[in-house]
């Protein structure tokens, strides 16, 4: 008897859409955040006691471009991940397509504005005055 064996794997054309992208992004950013966010939280909120936190301490960190970049990445990933998460949650409960659209625009604008605003804040931060004093 001739036997027929093995698994057939097939390539398919998958139309990409925003939801697919968001799904992948949530997982990718999640993994990144495992390092960035957990690291940040452990360093800033556990190892460094808030009770010792001052503007000067922040300044000491932001005196290095390394930390500036770290924080900016954290900002971008955490904020977009979290806001997309919020979008998921809201879309579960808001059923009117128009309202969903408006909410999404508001969320998107908020993400962009926040990232730019906070990004500028980090980038333009000049640590000198606080460190030398």
């Amino acid at each position: 008897m001739t036997t027929l064996s093995g698994v057939t794997h097939r390539k398919v054309q998958v139309r990409s859409n925003f939801e697919r992208f968001a799904f992948l992004f949530m997982r990718l950013s999640g993994v990144t955040l495992l390092v960035l966010a957990v690291g940040h939280v452990l360093i800033q909120h556990v190892l460094n006691d808030v009770h010792n936190l001052t503007l000067e301490v922040v300044a000491a960190t932001w005196n290095s471009w390394g930390w500036k970049v770290y924080d900016m990445l954290l900002l971008i990933f955490a904020f977009s991940h979290g806001m997309n998460g919020l979008r998921n949650v809201l879309e579960d409960y808001i059923h009117n397509a128009k309202t969903v659209k408006i909410v999404n625009i508001v969320l998107a604008v908020f993400v962009v504005v926040t990232i730019i605003w906070a990004g500028i804040a980090i980038a333009s931060f000049d640590a000198a005055p606080f460190i030398n004093n």
């Binding site: 008897m1 001739t2 036997t3 027929l4 064996s5």
Partner: protein
């Protein structure tokens, strides 16, 4: 009559099990068809069938449709019409392949072809041993057939009227004009006006107390036909499957015994051999023989702990011990059982808390399959009399129909074959019929009779409950008209049924509403059950011989001289009339049936 909604179609199919759906697929290719079902189509009982569908594909070993024919005729105790059996077994091959083309996920042999297995009564002429003929998809073949056919119906945009309970056939002289149905969700009456009607309403196993049949199998189709002057054929032949779970009746497939399982009585004996019921094949004797043996053991007080069951033991310990005794080399273990009988293991674990690997299962015969039904030819055309005159436009297919290919005892796997083969032929023929037939006008007050009957039930005030009457009927039928019958028991049953008829008139329902009033529908279904029970008993009482599933203590032999013929039961007024029609013989002359 303003409240009756009227729909018009070329054809109406009642029932969406394997037979109804197959017919719908074919008929709807050229005709405008409506499928009415009191259940969602996928809830039909075809989905419960486990073992397989018989077709001589010869995918693994030599086989032929002629062998399949012979086995079927022999299994039927020579009561089957041999021309119809030939159609069944020949068409089976193409039809099973066609199911595969519809996407049915059959299991596969290593060569990629449809997998087949052995089943009781299906033999190879060359080896003299069971042949692999049952095409299967795990042990849920019926489920796959039902799903696949329903899926194809969705694809072909068949019109479904789900949860429409058909309660009457509109017949005017020798024409049919449609059916009357109740839309369950609203309680409204609807008339489906059509050129042709097909009944594919399945079985009526709920006549008995312990049954493998669904609650919905209440014989509506046969009862409606009967009330409209159509005869019922061979109703005395009702198959009791030997191994149903004790009290519940849930089926335990023959496969268990095929894998070495044995039947043990209260004295710890393997009675099929020891007590001489089937000294050679023992537990693998045919269904009617094994059911009778279990029944006799229980009657002799040799049930387990004196109760009404015996043990089906497939524990490796027991099986291997008997293999050794019989001098067989095979041995089985836990893993083997888990792999071969997963669903059975699930059922017994769920319902009995019994693990079949370590404990025996309590079983008793369970009412399973009606060989009789509405008489038809191989094209599903309903036949009105012994001269085979048809009632034009009226069709039947599936378990409700009697073609007859199962005769006095159906072989395992042949029912699923019957559904798809004759469902298809009937669907085709009905579509052709619709091409030329005219839509005849509806008679005035077409729904009046049945509406009056429902009004009567709704307003009846006798204080009797449906389930009480039903229970009494089931107990009496189980006691008197089951695996064994005698003149005395059947007369007792008739007496009981007569009393129950009176009680039935006093059934009082509590739900007077319209929406989903299953209270009133159950009461109406009980009327159908009582009718089918009576036909079964009357037909059985008249047949003074033992043949296949009809086993009498007072007439223990088969009597080909007088009884090689089909029973036709007609309802006439408050009484009845019996008639007989000859069996169509062919290549196979009746012989004593030994396995």
């Amino acid at each position: 009559m303003a409240q009756v909604k009227i729909h018009t179609f070329d054809a109406v199919i009642v029932g969406a099990g394997g037979a109804g759906l197959m017919a719908a697929l074919y008929a709807s290719r050229s005709a405008n068809v409506a499928v009415l079902s009191k259940l969602y189509p996928t809830r039909s009982h075809t989905g419960a069938a486990q073992g397989g569908i018989g077709a001589a594909l010869a995918n693994m070993e030599e086989d032929s449709w002629e062998w399949h024919s012979y086995d079927t005729v022999k299994g039927s105790d020579y009561l089957a019409d041999q021309d119809a059996v030939d159609v069944l077994t020949k068409e089976a091959i193409n039809t099973v392949v066609e199911l595969e083309h519809m996407g049915l996920p059959f299991d596969r042999f290593p060569n990629g072809k449809i997998s087949q297995r052995r089943f009781g009564g299906h033999m190879s002429k060359t080896t003299g041993r069971p042949v692999m003929r049952a095409c299967h998809a795990a042990d849920r073949t019926g489920h796959m057939i039902l799903q696949t056919l329903y899926q194809q119906c969705i694809k072909n945009e068949v019109n479904f009227f789900d949860e429409f309970h058909v309660v009457d056939l509109i017949r005017v002289d020798d024409t049919v004009r449609g059916v009357v149905a109740i839309e369950i969700a609203t309680g409204e009456f609807h008339i489906f006006h059509s050129k042709a009607v097909m009944f594919a309403t399945g079985g009526w196993g709920r006549v008995w107390e312990v049954t493998s049949n669904a609650h919905s199998l209440t014989g509506d189709g046969p009862a409606i036909a009967l009330r409209r002057g159509i005869p019922l054929q061979d109703m005395e032949f009702f198959q009791f499957h030997p191994t149903g779970i004790f009290k519940l009746g849930i089926l335990i497939t023959e496969g268990v015994r095929g894998e070495g399982g044995v039947l043990i009585n209260g004295e710890g004996e393997r009675f099929m051999g020891v007590r001489g019921y089937a000294p050679n094949v023992k537990d693998l004797a045919s269904r009617d023989v094994v059911s009778r043996a279990i029944y006799l053991e229980i009657k002799a007080g040799r049930g387990i702990n004196g109760q009404k069951y015996v043990h089906l033991d497939v524990t490796p310990e027991t099986v291997n011990r008997y293999y050794e005794e019989d001098g067989e080399d095979r041995r089985i273990d836990r893993a083997y059982i888990e792999a071969k009988l997963p669903d059975i293991a699930d059922f017994t674990r769920t319902y009995l808390g019994v693990d079949p690997v370590t404990e025996p299962m309590p079983v008793q015969p369970t009412a399973h399959y009606g060989m009789g039904g509405i008489p038809t030819d191989v094209h599903g055309r309903v036949l009105l009399d012994a001269q085979k005159n048809p009632l034009p436009g009226f069709y039947a297919a599936g378990e409700v129909a009697c073609v007859s290919v199962h005769g006095a005892n159906r072989l395992g796997t042949n029912s699923l074959t019957d559904l798809v083969v004759f469902g298809k032929l009937a669907g085709k023929d009905m579509a052709n019929y619709c091409q030329t037939a005219e839509l005849l006008p509806l008679p005035d007050g077409a729904a009046d009779d049945v509406m009056a009957e429902f009004d009567r039930i709704r307003n009846s005030g006798g204080g009797v409950k449906t389930y009480e009457v039903r229970n009494k009927m089931q107990v009496s039928m189980t006691e008197n008209v089951s695996v064994f019958r005698t003149e005395e028991t059947m007369k007792q049953a008739l007496e009981d049924l007569e009393a129950l008829r009176d009680e039935y008139q006093k059934v009082e329902i509590q739900d007077k509403g319209k929406v989903f009033n299953s209270d009133i529908l159950e009461a109406w279904e009980l009327g159908c059950l009582l009718d089918t029970a009576e036909v079964t008993t009357v037909s059985g009482l008249a047949r003074t011989e033992s043949r296949g599933a009809h086993a009498r203590d007072d007439y223990t032999e088969r009597d080909d001289e007088n009884w090689l013929m089909h029973t036709l039961y007609y309802k006439e007024g408050d009484g009845y009339r019996l008639d007989y029609k000859p069996v169509t013989l062919g290549r196979y002359e009746p012989k004593p049936r030994v396995y």
